[in-house]
């Protein structure tokens, strides 16, 4: 049976520092059919050139219109019926794509399958003040919305990611909430299949000053219910 093609969208803006390791982890996937799309938003640090040096990686060059727009551009170029995302400073474990594909093939009703993540500290990286143990499981690792492998049908039905101008970094959450509201089941693999890197430069939206977008996402959902 021909393996299903998985498109992986990697948005990058001046992320050359970790991009090579990221792409290396994608190329090393044990799923045999991968379509890697790097969306470079005008990097000046050689990110696009670095990505073009990887065999089998397509690179889209475009102006910087934000992370959501880069992801949507990647969606427009993605060839696979299954689509994943990898931030340019993170890495996938070798079996991530395969395990998520297997799950979606076994569960045709599920629209997106998430997975847990490991947390990796760069040498010398300070403990960020936003980093807290997972609320459910008590460890540091948690589940990133970015970890999802999506059916293309999800985006056909919902459209792409909405803008960061209003949603801040909550555009992932907003998409998942729309998926749930549309009745598309969201599943979770309890195994950590990707690795987020703590390098002291990460941003997070859940600290107090960044909560406004989350309120907007939840409020919009609440209003859509009534």
């Amino acid at each position: 049976m021909t393996p299903v093609l998985v498109s992986v969208i990697v948005p990058v803006l001046n992320g050359a520092r970790f991009l090579g390791e990221c792409l290396g982890s994608l190329i090393a996937q044990d799923h045999p059919a991968l379509d890697i799309v790097v969306v470079d938003a005008g990097s000046t640090d050689g990110s696009a050139q670095l990505a073009e040096g990887f065999s089998g990686v397509r690179v889209l060059r475009r102006a910087n219109e934000g992370l959501s727009a880069s992801r949507n551009a990647g969606l427009g170029a993605a060839a696979g019926p299954l689509i994943g995302f990898c931030d340019s400073d993170d890495v996938w474990k070798p079996d991530k794509a395969r395990r998520q594909v297997e799950y979606l093939e076994a569960h045709p009703d599920v629209g997106v399958v998430l997975c847990r993540q490991d947390t990796m500290f760069e040498p010398g990286a300070a403990w960020p003040d936003w980093l807290r143990p997972d609320q459910v499981r008590g460890d540091l690792d948690g589940v990133s919305p970015t970890s999802g492998l999506f059916r293309r049908a999800v985006f056909d039905r919902l459209g792409g990611f909405r803008g960061m101008d209003q949603l801040g970094t909550e555009f992932d959450l907003e998409l998942l909430i729309r998926a749930r509201a549309a009745g598309l089941p969201i599943a979770l693999l309890e195994d950590a299949l990707c690795v987020r890197r703590i390098h002291g430069d990460n941003l997070t939206s859940r600290s107090e000053p960044f909560l406004a977008p989350m309120f907007k996402v939840v409020r919009d959902h609440l209003r859509s219910r009534t």
Partner: protein, 143 residues
């Protein structure tokens, strides 16, 4: 209970009030709560350190209802808020919100106080949101 003062159960609970509607999100359970109109006004007063009696008087004068009705409603409302751990008793030395702000009740008639609780997004609210998203680059330094 009449003399107790309260505060929002921060940092577990985060809240925002817009156009007379308060949204409270429980960052531990992923539940979220909504209250509107007089309920939102009561929440604002209570979470800023007002006693139940003070809150009842505030509602009574704002909505022109009997004090006894307001007192009964506020007492039940406080019990609900405490039961859901949205509100906690203010202990000596706790930080306060500096007293209740002026009430803004745009177009709302008085309705018995009510806190709506939702759990449909709990698993999603608890997802880990870390991203690298400044306009300077992804990843980018937190200024």
């Amino acid at each position: 209970m009449a003399a107790m003062r309260f505060r929002s159960n921060k940092p577990r609970m985060v809240d925002e009030t817009v156009d007379g509607e308060t949204l409270i999100i429980d960052m531990v359970s992923g539940s979220y709560f909504s209250c509107v109109g007089a309920s939102a006004a009561a929440w604002i007063a209570l979470s800023h350190g007002a006693t139940a009696a003070e809150t009842a008087r505030l509602l009574s004068s704002t909505y022109r209802i009997a004090t006894s009705e307001a007192e009964r409603d506020v007492e039940q409302f406080v019990a609900t808020l405490l039961g859901d751990e949205v509100l906690v008793v203010l202990e000596e030395g706790d930080p306060t919100n500096g007293g209740p702000p002026a009430l803004d009740t745009p177009g709302h008639e008085y309705q018995p106080l009510r806190l709506e609780r939702y759990t449909d997004l709990a698993d999603l609210i608890l997802l880990d949101p870390v991203h690298d998203v400044s306009v300077a680059g992804w990843p980018s330094r937190h200024e």
